[in-house]
Subunit: 355 residues, 4 copies
């Protein structure tokens, strides 16, 4: 539980926003696998802060250093530990927050959970910065999946009230990950408008896993929905997830929602994909499709109502520090990472039962 | 993974729709606890089939028999196994389904997962009937939570395009679990309309956990969202989940979505609850609120397109057997069960770290 | 932890000596596998009580009934639950034991663990009877291993001061599982002597896994020693385990204890096997050899010193009921079961990492 | 499994003998706990190499650096990662070993396990050096246990054929951890004799956990024997473990082996402790006593028989590099660490079930 994922792959994400380093310890990736480190760096870069006007000016190289588990460029079977040094921290920004929890952040709940011992600087272990180690694991899984013909694509489906349009395709390589760049322009404007107001916006990310064979996943608590959501809700700010037609399926009749089977080129497909490629928790062989709702960044410029934990009285707070007016673009690779881990882990689950 | 939940409480749900019995084996509930068996029976009854015209005519007593783990009326510390005999099975209804997978069901994916060895009668292990054992675990957790002042309430928030109205309150005891009975009447009509058309409808269930203290839950993969969704997606037909403002939060600005803190009667509260009682995965002390999307029952009367797995050709299928035109009312206690297990398990997690 | 084993195979053993049934719920065995039920019954029979003068007169059929997980004679992928009804219980024998814990039994420690709520009749969940479900799991794993050319053999290496002699071979099929039947006769006499004195004897069981390929097992906590001992200590009365030369290795010099490698028929072997077929936790391809120490049955006829938990005063106790003067012969298949589970589970672990 | 321990405390040990660092990532230790870092350093020092003529001349500072999880000197609730840099590595010593596995080492089995991708330098992940991170976890648990009145003591019970004498007491602070220093002198001579011969010796370590309350531990696979052995076999070179009278219990009659209960100063004790403080897997409140057999260091000076993995022919090998003629003294704190982790983890297990 907690900061550990404990499936066929096991990993623990460690570090705080302002500790000397953040990182991840991973077990269960296949020995002999030779990661493409420049491809991993490129993937990490999609999440990295400070790249443009839509994200926090905090610039971190975010280059993982592997201190163990790699020998001669290959995974050697021993646990992999990757570390990212925290270089550009400004802890003094946060001193007031010890007693005045920021609305929408985990300051208050962490204080309750850890009885005041939590690292409150920069959000501590709850910082969005901790998605960097998740992207290390996910980036490696993406490479492993690619070797099996499986890819993960995603885009910003909705942001600031604007919806993306067009057929789902990879947005990797785009500065702003949308299918329709005109929609993207409108979304960017919504972000900049919010920024100008000292405010923030959220959005919805849609993700698809392509090429996954039928028969992956398990019943009940091992379903692909459970597996994917167990990881996706590990990304801060995700407040909802839906698969296929999702909440809209709840508004359809069975005759509309059911996906008919058909044979196409000797392969069984479904004519529609309202189930999001998952029936009974198990893949159909069609794309696994899901959408995740990302709440607006809670750090905003306006003065907000909070409490003073020392005096137990109402108080006012103005959040300082460097923040993203919208974290949705940077969350896109995180969602892909989460999906990749979930799918790769489920593949291993099936593999062990197959003679 | 799979049919086992493996937290501080551990349980495995076993059985198939037409095996000699279904049931559950549970470890980790507190020794000395004396379950109220009539209260449990009453809870199970809310999920039981065959009670009215909205549900399947398959009548099962659904009375759990505890074959182990109880001594002198109390949990004795040893694993608890409860069994529900399958008495009213009609396997011959299903013989055609071996080769013609039903759209919307797990027939095809189970065949792929288990290479043809799956029990295809009545949906096998994928049947909604397997939520009965989940309700045994959940019913016991509800009693344990009650002893700590925590309760779980829910209602049908939406069904067949009709939304429920009014302030969230318990609907336990109602024949049709809605807040506003007028809305309920309209929903029932939508179900009967669908039934008359040989069709089915889905819906959305809203659930709240009341009285849960602040500071429960863990960061990242141990967050309350992760914990609850890991269980809720174990209920067949759930295709989406959202917490607090959920997908709507993605459409708000930070200044609208942030929940201000305030002191009320010496206790810290949030003035709104867009976060659904969860920040950073940890409870705020406000109600934990979530909504689950339930797809329409895939078993419908109309002839459907499918494939014949023997010939790999397109085929037609008319599903026979007894089915619910809408499983949403019966899913309500299942959702409560899932929420209760998640919250009780998270309470244990915190307990062990507290001196 | 506790009554659940949670590896690639997962199972929970449930039941008490005098509950309505005992049994096991298993997940992770391969779908499509067709157990040989008569072979399983034969294996169970080797452990069953009441077969001769060396064991308890309590006669139980010990025939497992599979209530789920099997369809058309094959494992269908869903959890397997097997139940053995408790038919021949005599609970009144045990009433005094509620307050007077038997020396050498778990009565006192269970009372402390469960605060008086434990099922104290017949040893409750701590009864040796609970090894029957372990033998169900183990019996299935033995069949799965056999299909991969792996077998498990064992014998009573020592009993009542008498050591068995000869080269390790299967003793399956023998009424008294020793290599040298003359030694066996002497051992039987030692058991009958103890029985005549109202006393009991313990012994040492030696077990070997043959045909296991090199490269199975994992470093540190996943070593074959850890895996095997984690299961073997689950058998009541086991108080020690050693691998290969074991405690004797501690008395050798490195030059004596090291096993030289050599090539034999194109395969790498070790000329000796002091390491018990395990180096660094991983199999060498030579037989995995271990010995388990079984303490003498604590139930003896003589009056013993104990305490009265009500008055917290010293007290006397004479244990009544039906007991084995020596459980070592019946523990032999249990040890084989434990070894089979450990090895099969480790095979699955490697399988999932292999492309 | 593998290099992760996954109980209520979770940790993964990472690193190889010659990777840039070794270390450990830990989850589940209590927030607010303030480790005594100088006490931890002192404990680590007992295991550190290069301190005297009995151990390897490889000198490593072995000072752990905590890169996360600590804030203001206290555990902050987030995962703890400690790193020890590898500074004094001499990889060139090991080049021949890639194709000529050393007898008694994991070279061959790791090659089989990881298909040639393993880090073979200095034993890689299988090096005894990896017990340093285990001592970090154990050292912290020892401090946590101390706060609950529980201590762990141990001594070399046997080395090179010489047995220690006297009543079990702490040997912490002694340069050579034995009860009777005269015995210690003889043991040291045995080590130096072996060293002079280019050979090595093994030994037996006896360990006791004092002050542990009755009622800790769980039945079957959660018994204290299982829990302790699961960790102790994680220490390289351990080939056997026995609890209380252990293998000797197998030679006693029940009347001799049973520990009578008695009331002493209002507390229930056992008059003897043949069960090693454990009945049915659960603590009696008496000292938990066990012994672990340590095989002689496999690295010896003499030329040995091995194979050449390239040619699959027999070969000769002379092991170079720096090695301990006897690792038993350095293994003493590792055994204490393993015991401390097992007991602390079991305490947490009980805590969560207690209201």
């Amino acid at each position: 539980m907690s900061s550990s994922f404990n499936g066929n792959i096991k990993f623990t994400i460690f570090g705080q926003s302002h500790s000397s380093a953040i990182g991840v310890t991973i077990e269960g990736l296949p020995s002999g696998f030779e990661p493409d480190m420049s491809e991993l760096a490129r993937f990490m870069q999609r999440r990295a802060p400070g790249r443009n006007e839509y994200s926090t000016p905090r610039a971190e190289a975010d280059a993982p250093e592997f201190v163990s588990g790699i020998f001669d460029g290959k995974l050697c079977g021993a646990p992999l530990t990757a570390i990212i040094k925290n270089t550009n921290t400004r802890s003094k920004d946060y001193s007031e927050l010890k007693y005045k929890p920021r609305p929408g952040h985990a300051d208050f709940t962490a204080d309750e959970r850890y009885h005041g011992a939590q690292d409150f600087t920069g959000g501590g272990h709850f910082s969005g910065r901790l998605t960097a180690p998740l992207c290390i694991v996910g980036g490696l899984c993406l490479q492993l999946l690619k070797a099996e013909g499986i890819s993960v694509i995603s885009h910003i489906a909705e942001l600031g009230g604007i919806s993306d349009r067009g057929e789902l395709c990879s947005t990797d390589g785009k500065n702003f990950p949308v299918i329709d760049d005109d929609c993207g322009e409108k979304m960017k404007r919504a972000v900049l408008d919010a920024k100008a107001d000292g405010d923030s916006v959220g959005g919805v990310i849609e993700c698809a896993v392509l090429g996954c064979p039928a028969g992956i996943g398990d019943p009940m608590f091992g379903g692909m929905e459970n597996r994917i959501s167990a990881l996706v809700f590990g990304i801060p700010a995700v407040k909802g997830i839906e698969f296929g037609a999702g909440f809209n399926a709840a508004r359809l009749r069975g005759s509309q929602n059911n996906d008919s089977f058909a044979v196409e080129n000797g392969k069984i497909i479904t004519k529609t994909n309202n189930c999001g490629g998952i029936l009974g928790g198990i893949t159909t062989g069609m794309p696994i499709v899901f959408r995740a709702a990302i709440k607006p960044t809670p750090s905003i410029a306006a003065e907000q109502d909070t409490v003073d934990l020392r005096t137990m009285e109402n108080a006012k707070l103005t959040v300082r520090g460097r923040h993203d007016p919208c974290i949705v673009p940077r969350a896109v690779p995180c969602i892909e990472a989460a999906a990749a881990i979930a799918v790769y882990d489920a593949l291993l689950e099936k593999r062990k039962e197959t003679t």
